[in-house]
């Protein structure tokens, strides 16, 4: 069975997106009460990552 083109590359790219998102969320959670700047930065990072993902420009990601 031949896999669809980009199967491995798309999988890897998504792993990176997901890891980056979880890392941003994880870095902010312990600081909700004591460091608003850290939390704000994490939320901004999440927005930036999710903007790219939801745009869905796969060709650009995998170029």
């Amino acid at each position: 069975m031949e896999a669809a083109p980009n199967t491995e590359a798309l999988d890897q790219q998504f792993k990176e997106f997901i890891q980056a998102l979880k890392s941003a969320v994880g870095s902010a959670m312990p600081h909700l009460k004591d460091d608003p700047k850290v939390v704000e930065k994490a939320i901004t990072d999440c927005r930036d990552i999710l903007d790219v993902v939801l745009e869905g420009n796969v060709k650009e990601w995998l170029a």
């Binding site: 083109p5 199967t7 999988d11 998102l21």
Partner: protein, 240 residues
């Protein structure tokens, strides 16, 4: 009834109907997994009521993306590129519930309560299924556990709104009325030849009508507990 267990290396040897149904169900599942974040991230990430809620929106989106990734991998391995669902407009999604936008926090809460619950039902269909790579993905406790986390968040948030009474309760009831019928419709037609064939090939476990009734029983019990009205299950339905 089909009793074989099929691994990737044997996929091409299977009956064409089996291959078609598996390709189809994986494409729809991938579309649904990424369909959620496309509904709520744009408005809910910046506008969730608290910083904690914003982080929960981001984490939920990350988990749904991971579910998409796992299903996309399975589809890719059998030659189906489902990357097209990443860039399609919401109104083009396979399932009607994913064709709009979520712009209020009460809709986000009820979406978790009712629509992510359908997601859990759909994943449960694949437990012990004949296609081993798919069965393995849902056997991994992460996927269903994460879905349950989204549901619990939605149930708790919905219950909190209902408990406030007054305008808050009216608003959450309105959201429940909207999503309840969409949830019921997500199970498809009760009399469905395709559903029978999925069961024959053991790619699904339950007839649509049975899964829908089990889902409805769960939802109705929770709505009753929250003091919310159970919407008319036949109003504005697309599939019965």
């Amino acid at each position: 009834m089909f009793t074989d267990k099929v691994d990737l290396k044997d996929f091409e040897k299977q009956d064409p109907e089996y291959q078609d149904l598996l390709r189809r169900v994986l494409a729809i599942q991938a579309d649904c997994e990424i369909g959620g974040p496309n509904l709520y991230v744009k408005d809910m990430l910046p506008n969730a009521p608290t910083r904690l809620d914003q982080l929960i929106v981001a984490r939920t989106a990350a988990e749904e993306m991971d579910h998409y990734r796992k299903i996309a991998r399975l589809a890719g391995d059998i030659g189906v590129d489902v990357s097209y669902v990443l860039s399609r407009a919401n109104q083009d999604r396979y399932v009607e519930a994913f064709r709009g936008e979520i712009k209020t926090w009460e809709d986000y809460a009820v979406f978790g309560f009712l629509i992510d619950r359908v997601g859990r039902f759909q994943l449960e269909e694949f437990i012990g299924c004949s296609y081993l790579p798919l069965a393995r993905v849902v056997d991994d406790p992460d996927m269903i556990r994460e879905e349950e986390g989204h549901i619990d968040f939605g149930v708790n948030a919905t219950a909190e709104w209902a408990a406030k009474g007054g305008e808050s309760k009216e608003r959450i009831q309105k959201a429940v009325n909207y999503w309840y019928v969409k949830g019921l419709d997500m199970f498809g037609k009760s009399k469905s030849y395709r559903s029978d064939r999925y069961m024959y090939w053991r790619l699904k476990r339950r007839p649509n009508a049975v899964a829908r009734q089990q889902y409805k029983d769960e939802c109705d019990a929770l709505l009753k507990k929250m003091g919310l009205e159970i919407p008319d299950p036949n109003k504005d339905r697309l599939y019965t």
